[in-house]
């Protein structure tokens, strides 16, 4: 066997150029397929993380009727047996009670439909954690003018200031990154920029009677910290819910859609506002391992009182996102499929030529006593070599990019970023960390190599010695 492998290895280097071209085509196919897939899956993961893990949770327990009719009348009391079941499930990282209902928000100048969300300020830190999203700096037009008047900025930072005009930041690190500040430049500019962009704002206290307004919404309503907003809605059993609330802080929500409509208040305040007593509309659950979602869902479904409650996973309560991801994913898979198909024909051509130009040699080998089956094995090993080298180098070249692109996701700027945000995506493109998809690209290319071998090698198996000797 080692002799056959040795022969195969020497054979592939007989035509160096063709071997290199074949390897290169496999290399590029694998490389691009992996990188493309990593971008896709990374973006989905990011979307899911932003929308699901950082807001809705993977699973929600609701009143049975709430899913089809999300009215406050279909709310429920949380506690007792249900709480027991949830708290005893080892896969559940956190379960937060929420009240969510639409209302009309108004400041003197603007009004807009908003999603009033009642949260437990302490427990919510483990799910959407609005505290770290409180806006601390804002690059208002006036702030930018003042900064420019006070100091002379390098060209790059000037451009970035323009791009981030009206942008909000929840930390200095985020702002420094956005303006590409570091080292001595950062030290020099920090006091000046801070002075003009610093933004007051506080997270909700446990017994707070104020609200947090999402960033885009606050800009639309022209609501600042310290202002008040009027909320008008429909409460439990059709009572009118109305109230005036001071704005405690602005939160920057990474999902642009939510960022346009979210108003947070404490759970108790929302229950009071909507006249809900101690009822909630959903229990939002985060998991230790998202892959266990289906498992946990069915466990919960099996143990809760299904006459009263239902358990939905994010794919059910956010079907739009699921469809978006699936549609996009199919597009990517088709593209990769076409890429592989082209490569399949390239490999096929290589095998055909390899076999055709060595016909006489095969004839001699079989004449002097080598079985055709062995010959086929040598040829097959040659192709596996080519496939493997192309695959290994392709994966090898993609791997460092994946590490890099996963740890430092590409953050889009300018026009591109705007386009993404308009479509409702966070303009970030991380590469997915190594997972099945990575291995699969390798497996698929090897399958392609094997497929490409079938027909030509079958020809060798059927070859007539006499004809081969005459070639």
């Amino acid at each position: 066997m080692d002799k056959l492998i040795k022969m195969a290895w020497r054979n592939i280097w007989r035509n160096k150029r063709r071997t290199l071209i074949t390897i290169a085509s496999i290399f590029f196919a694998v490389f691009f397929a992996v990188i493309m897939r990593a971008f896709q899956l990374g973006t989905y993961e990011h979307m899911i993380h932003q929308a699901i893990e950082s807001f809705t949770g993977y699973i929600q327990i609701q009143d049975k009727e709430f899913f089809d009719d999300p009215s406050l009348d279909n709310s429920f009391k949380y506690g007792g047996e249900l709480a027991n079941i949830v708290e005893n499930n080892k896969e559940i990282k956190v379960a937060v009670p929420r009240v969510a209902s639409f209302s009309l928000a108004s400041t003197g100048m603007q009004s807009k439909g908003v999603l009033v969300t009642g949260i437990d300020p302490l427990r919510e830190k483990e799910l959407s954690n609005p505290e770290i999203r409180i806006v601390k700096y804002r690059l208002t037009i006036e702030a930018i003018e003042k900064i420019m008047a006070e100091t002379k900025l390098p060209k790059k930072q000037l451009e970035l200031l323009k791009i981030h005009e009206k942008g909000s930041f929840s930390s200095w690190a985020g702002l420094a990154l956005g303006l590409s500040l570091s080292g001595s430049l950062e030290d020099e500019l920090k006091p000046i920029i801070t002075k003009h962009t610093k933004f007051e704002g506080q997270y909700l206290k446990v017994d707070d009677d104020g609200v947090l307004v999402s960033d885009r919404l606050s800009k639309y309503l022209m609501a600042e910290v310290g202002d008040t907003i009027t909320l008008l809605g429909l409460g439990y059993h059709g009572v009118t819910a109305a109230g005036i609330f001071p704005v405690r802080g602005i939160v920057k929500i990474p999902s642009p859609d939510l960022d346009n409509k979210l108003v947070y208040m404490t759970l108790s305040k929302s229950q009071q506002f909507f006249d809900l007593g101690n009822r909630i509309t959903s229990l939002n659950i985060n998991l230790y391992d998202p892959d266990e979602m289906m498992e946990v869902q069915s466990e919960l479904l099996a143990s809760i009182n299904s006459d009263k409650y239902t358990v939905k996973n994010w794919e059910e309560f956010n079907p739009t996102m699921k469809q978006q991801i699936e549609g996009d994913s199919v597009g990517g898979v088709i593209f990769i499929g076409i890429l592989y198909f082209i490569v399949l024909f390239g490999i096929f051509g290589t095998v055909l030529m390899m076999v055709a130009e060595r016909k006489r040699e095969f004839g001699v080998m079989v004449a002097i006593g080598m079985k055709k089956a062995k010959l086929v094995v040598i040829l097959f090993i040659e192709m596996i070599f080519l496939g493997f080298i192309g695959m290994a180098t392709g994966l090898g070249a993609a791997a460092p990019l994946i590490v890099l692109g996963n740890k430092n996701p590409i953050r889009m700027t300018g026009e591109m970023a705007k386009m993404y945000e308009d479509m409702g995506f966070d303009p970030v493109m991380p590469l997915a960390w190594f997972d099945n998809y990575f291995v699969w690209q390798g497996v698929i290319i090897m399958i392609m190599v094997i497929l490409a071998c079938i027909f030509p090698l079958e020809g060798v198996r059927k070859m007539k010695v006499m004809n081969a000797l005459k070639a």
Partner: protein, 231 residues
């Protein structure tokens, strides 16, 4: 002892309407230790006959019996195996496997026979020394001259310890010096090791060395002459 018995062997090629009787009712025997040349004009059927003797081509009718067993019963892998263990081949050109060195080419058939690495190595070195290529054992075919390549081919043909060696115009592509060397080696092996050689040729000097000369014409044996006591 008879190594090969050929009985009423025929090969008819049909090309559209025309039938070519390439080998026409040949009956022949070869004894162990023969040094026989098959001669005749181009198209007389030499290659066709040798290929059928070597089990590379199927006769239209008739039989080739090697060492007592008929080859016509064998098919596919069995026939390949039969060739491996009984017949040595030297072709006109491009005999050798390009990616293997002279030594590896010689070892190749022994490896196929399943002999141990040690045995293969010793025997291939010995054979290459006999054909005068002891110094060039690790050269690949493209680094060897045409004559040297043919000598490696002879060494390889002998490596499997076959019952006989078939060579179809082994010297056709060689100059007269190389032809002479190759012939000397074959003769010596025949004389000293009692190896049976059957070869076809156009070359009068090669014919002169043969102890038996079979002349074909239009697929039939025209004459079959055995010289007494060699030259």
């Amino acid at each position: 002892m008879k190594v090969i018995e050929i009985e009423n062997l025929n090969k008819i090629y049909k090309e559209s309407e025309i039938e070519v009787h390439a080998v026409n009712g040949v009956t022949l025997d070869f004894e162990e230790g023969e040094f026989a040349a098959i001669v005749g004009p181009s198209g007389s059927g030499k290659t066709t006959l040798l290929n059928m003797i070597g089990g590379l081509d199927d006769p239209t009718s008739g039989e080739v019996i090697v060492g007592g067993s008929s080859m016509s019963k064998l098919k596919g892998a069995e026939l390949t195996d039969f060739r491996l263990h009984n017949i040595g081949f030297v072709f006109q050109s491009y005999n050798l496997i390009p990616v293997l060195t002279a030594k590896e080419n010689t070892e190749f058939v022994m490896r196929l026979q399943g002999l141990s690495a040690k045995v293969c190595e010793t025997r291939s070195e010995e054979l290459l020394n006999i054909v005068g290529l002891g110094e060039r054992m690790n050269a690949r075919p493209n680094k060897l001259s045409g004559g040297q390549q043919q000598r490696v081919a002879v060494a390889r043909a002998l490596a499997s310890k076959p019952k006989f060696v078939l060579a179809d115009e082994p010297t056709a592509n060689l100059d007269s010096k190389s032809t002479e060397t190759l012939l000397e080696i074959m003769e010596k092996l025949n004389r000293e090791e009692n190896i049976t050689f059957i070869f076809s040729t156009h070359d009068a000097r090669v014919v002169k060395k043969a102890r038996r000369v079979i002349t074909l014409e239009d697929g039939k044996i025209l004459s079959d002459v055995t010289k007494n006591g060699g030259e």
